[in-house]
């Protein structure tokens, strides 16, 4: 690939500096959008015909579930880019996705259980969506466990990239098999977004999804900056970026002519 922007984006110092300026935009807009979505969903959206006010949990459950899946795909895609094009920035992005994605999955599971109790009468009823989310959580935990098992960051990047790629291929298969398994045994009610045909209901939902996306991008940028630093051990740009004095590069012809200005005066003998 010879797209200039692609390679520039993959340049660690450029990414580091650019993301620093981008984070506030994403962070603040995430806050505004989420607050707007929450107010709209909790106050202005009408109660549901069947579920009363209890359905409002979807305003966090659905965005979290959506993001949990999307983040896994982003993780696998950036890991694949890192593996194929050997881009450290891509590996840094993949590493940053793990905790975020797992957290979204936990939120999706927890809110799903809290929604299930009043709706089905049980906190856990092996609903296909929640069971798939649980397996997705295991995939995230496995990814994080594999990463932590390697001391060398580069090896950890490559091994977890293979795992992420294998995992992302399996995610649709796993999901389909769980849906199929569930449909055989009971006419269980899916936690669906059925009944969200009314704009006053899906507008706040979409708003919350957008808010979660902005939040994800903001945190991804923050984490990726740190991961880039960890992978660029001896690069000279780091010193400048951190505002530290650059390591003194020896510019001399012999051992005798050392730049005395950099050395603290020490009495010998």
């Amino acid at each position: 690939m010879s797209w200039v922007w692609f390679h520039r984006f993959g340049s660690p110092p450029h990414f580091y500096r650019l993301s620093r300026r981008l984070v506030p935009w994403f962070a603040w807009s995430a806050l505004v959008v989420c607050v707007a979505g929450l107010i709209d969903g909790l106050v202005f959206a009408p109660p549901d015909f069947r579920q009363g006010d209890g359905y409002r949990i979807i305003f966090v459950h659905v965005p979290a579930a959506l993001l949990s899946l999307q983040v896994y795909v982003v993780m696998a895609a950036s890991a694949a880019i890192g593996l194929i094009w050997r881009m450290k920035v891509a590996h840094a992005v993949a590493a940053s996705c793990a905790t975020l994605g797992a957290s979204f999955t936990v939120v999706a599971l927890g809110t799903g259980m809290l929604w299930g109790k009043p709706m089905w009468g049980a906190y856990w009823a092996w609903d296909p969506r929640l069971t798939s989310e649980l397996l997705l959580l295991f995939l995230y935990l496995g990814y994080m466990g594999l990463r932590s098992g390697f001391d060398d960051t580069a090896r950890a990047d490559r091994a977890s990239a293979v795992l992420a790629i294998v995992g992302v291929v399996n995610v649709p298969i796993i999901h389909y098999s769980v849906v199929w398994w569930n449909s055989l045994h009971q006419g269980s009610t899916l936690i669906g977004a059925g009944g969200i045909a009314v704009p006053s209901m899906w507008v706040p939902l979409v708003t919350m999804i957008v808010g979660f996306e902005l939040y994800f991008i903001a945190l991804l940028l923050i984490r990726t900056r740190g991961e880039i630093l960890r992978r660029e051990r001896n690069a000279h740009w780091i010193a400048e970026a951190l505002g530290a004095p650059p390591p003194t590069a020896p510019a001399y012809g012999g051992a005798s002519g050392h730049p005395a200005a950099h050395r603290p005066a020490v009495q010998r003998g």
């Binding site: 106050v43 009363g52 966090v60 957290s103 809110t111 929604w115 630093l229 960890r230 004095p245 020490v266």
Partner: protein
């Protein structure tokens, strides 16, 4: 207002759900910033202690 807080009787489920989401997302903000800060501190330490080899002459104790 009361009706809002009671969420039509589902308060015991709705509010904990939102609280869970809020707490987890807030924790992630804290973790992300801490991760970045520790990476920056590590990098700063590495840069500052990187004295080039030829300049390291045997001397007395440095301040």
């Amino acid at each position: 207002m009361i009706h809002f807080l009671q969420m039509g009787g589902y308060a015991m489920y709705v509010w904990p759900a939102f609280a869970l989401a809020f707490i987890v997302l807030a924790l992630n903000i804290a973790w992300a910033r801490r991760s970045l800060r520790s990476a920056q501190a590590e990098a700063r330490r590495r840069v500052l202690s990187a004295v080039p080899e030829p300049l390291r002459e045997p001397q007395g104790p440095q301040p």
